[in-house]
Symmetry: C2
Subunit: 516 residues, 2 copies
Amino acid sequence: MQIQHHYRETGLNERHQHLLTFKNLHIDTNQELVVFMPASCHVCKSEGFQALTRVTVSLNDKSIIAALNVTNDGLLAEGEISLSESAAKKMAVQDGDLLSVSHTGPLRSIAHVRAKLYGSVLDQQAYHEIIRDIVDEKYSNIFLSSFVSACSGNNMSIEEICYLTSAMIHAGNRLYWEKGVIADKHCIGGLPGNRTTMIVVPIIASLSIMIPKTSSKAITSPAGTADTMGVMTNVNLSIEEIRKVVEKENGCIAWGGAVKLSPADDLIIRVEKALDIDSEGQMIASILSKKAAAGSTHCVIDIPIGSTAKVRSMDNAVQLALKLKEVSEFLHIKSQIIFSDGSQPVGYGIGPALEARDVLDVLQNKPDAPKDLSEKSIRIATELVHLAWDMPKDAAQEIVTTKLKSGEAFKKFIAICEAQGGFKEPGKARYTKTIEADFTGTIHEINNRKTAQVAKLAGAPDTPEAGVDFRIQLKEKVESGQPLFTIHANSPGELEYAYEYYKNNSQDVIKYLINE
Amino acid sequence: MQIQHHYRETGLNERHQHLLTFKNLHIDTNQELVVFMPASCHVCKSEGFQALTRVTVSLNDKSIIAALNVTNDGLLAEGEISLSESAAKKMAVQDGDLLSVSHTGPLRSIAHVRAKLYGSVLDQQAYHEIIRDIVDEKYSNIFLSSFVSACSGNNMSIEEICYLTSAMIHAGNRLYWEKGVIADKHCIGGLPGNRTTMIVVPIIASLSIMIPKTSSKAITSPAGTADTMGVMTNVNLSIEEIRKVVEKENGCIAWGGAVKLSPADDLIIRVEKALDIDSEGQMIASILSKKAAAGSTHCVIDIPIGSTAKVRSMDNAVQLALKLKEVSEFLHIKSQIIFSDGSQPVGYGIGPALEARDVLDVLQNKPDAPKDLSEKSIRIATELVHLAWDMPKDAAQEIVTTKLKSGEAFKKFIAICEAQGGFKEPGKARYTKTIEADFTGTIHEINNRKTAQVAKLAGAPDTPEAGVDFRIQLKEKVESGQPLFTIHANSPGELEYAYEYYKNNSQDVIKYLINE
């Protein structure tokens, strides 16, 4: 006697395809790929498709996996199907095209996420499969949320953080360099105006140390380094262009987004922000995967500590530093972690053009250049030289300071800008409004987040000239009537809107002590 | 000297409201509440709203919390806003209405989910806050996913399962009864045609034991008990109507969905299904919260075990049984867990009307009534009487059997139907097709899921008369040409579609051994 089995055939037959007619509803669901089908659809019924089911949608040889959204609103007739803008774009589908849909077999990598939730420690292979599927956009938001949740808190061992990081590196593009020192720097965010990169890079490059720097644009802040650099030159460089610039000038400051180093990061961060879950592991993987993908061998990481900065206590900073150190060792990156004051903005300007002006003033040693920005830049550059050359810090500080004061760093910065496509002067905003102190006293507290908010209301970073020119510092004695800061905007409306917000929150933006 | 603080004012001011004009895009996002705003929107920019941000949308005194979907497709102009169908319905908003939007402060209960992810054990209060917010629809899909993930696997202590269960009970409606025995039964799903409820309830009620049964409708199966009962009488009873029926007849069989016992359950199950995460804790809370909310004091829970049933091994069944026992004790419910054969469908019919016919045949003691269904019903009723009256099982079985065989149970069933709105005969499908064996041999395996799939393709449960009349059993010897089952449908298309699926999967639906 024999047992009948026809798994392969039935496997295929089960996935025998249903054809539905595409109708574009122009629904933008952000990055998530979504397919819309009417509840009346016989395919939904027969295949047991339900809201949130993951469905494979195919047209000719192209196919995507999308989350199903069952519509009951008559937007779609029986036999019709629609896709979110992102999905329709990916498929290059036209109204009337016949799409085939089928159940999507369970993603292998979801089993890893489940295992993680069940308490197992995942291996390198598992993280590679998960990140691969995320980059291939096979994860719907609820899957991403489940993964982020599984990895949140302190649920990841240091090995797992290492595996996640290397998985994120391999899922994106990479820069390769001849052997030798490739310098890099990073600052944990949260501090307005903290634009040391554009001063550190030319100093280091002028010392003939290679520093191919990629930076990010603002997501929630008034400016990212790439936004600020963007008002002075082109930052949208390809991997080849980065190579050319660095071979010529030893350094560059390019937008990382253009070269897709660690693309998984953006997708994960989006859900983390929404969940307001801070995963130390994810943060470390996010930072170091980009450094490693850029080919860095030596990296200084600055952790500003402050009640309104990203890292709020020395304890957290120390924990984070230890793990950053371990993971960078795993990646063969020599790293130096430094702690800095995160209690107030750095420099005067907040917003791309205003920050660019500060950078240029420091590089040109102008008398009224912001000292805190120049000092912090010298400190980071010193640490980097100390790290790269294993040179005593005082000696390192001396040559770094010389490079800046002699104007060589400025020359190098201009040369880098020229190599990236030409230097242009930062613009100026059309409208300004200066806020003066209505008190006499001592500045007691400055809220980084709310200060940044004023700059964003004024139009930064979309309007590069917009922002806030912040002229006071902690512990500074202020006379009534003395200028505190100036709002810059290109429209009266934005100027007014930013000012109104400040008025409503003034005591939260700046706290002061009345002098007796 | 003094430190200036104006938290309350600034708190209010910060939430100072932005007005946007509503434009209905008729986008159905299923249960999730979603708000659509254009990326160009100054509110998005200034408030830092981003995709997935949770936003409070208000119109007059009504307000909801919705997940933000930023659109770039020109569907909305600057100053315009839209809501998903579910959200628009909740707000009863019209085109042109001015909606105000503001940032939603972090949900307190999300901190509990985060704590759970960080490994803490949550207390009763925490679960109450989480479930309250879920029922108030304050959780977007990614929050639900995070909660389900946090509670998945074996991450919940038995105390936590108890807390979750009581939180789910308190978040919904409840039935209250005079002191005394309130009997109930439950069957862990996954078995087609398993309609014991409509036989057990009249038997128990005819013994003057109160059994106010609420049942569910099919989600992914060809029929739920409420669907099957629905072809013979009205199941859409209010709490008051349930009370009336039960006071008159001692029992009822009503649709639980209509009385919103444990409403959190539906919202959680939807995401669990999508994630394909089975949380034992969630399943137990789901089952027992509904029993407790219905006021049950004594409950028999049947766990069918089979490779294509929900519970696949005796090990899993025992683990589940122990926890069900503990949690029901916590809820002061006397429970009896029984294991049964889950290797094949129960009865002949699969689909509302066909199952109803089986039920009526058993109740009327027709010679060709399905024996397995009648025996299983007698077993469950016996356990229930044994539990309720603490009576020896053989004695209990005797009176139970008498009630059924004497026709009293049938009389009681008709009386219950009359009390619920009148009895009607189940209908018959317009088209049928009988599948005959193309082999001579012994039935070796029957796949519950694929058999159910054939019934669903035929139109069940939406077409109550549709389904499958399944005439063979495991280990049965079959002659070539002998009828295996008959497909019932109300349209030739559905009949054909179901038949085609069977043809393509025949060896998966029924496996047999060729006789030597």
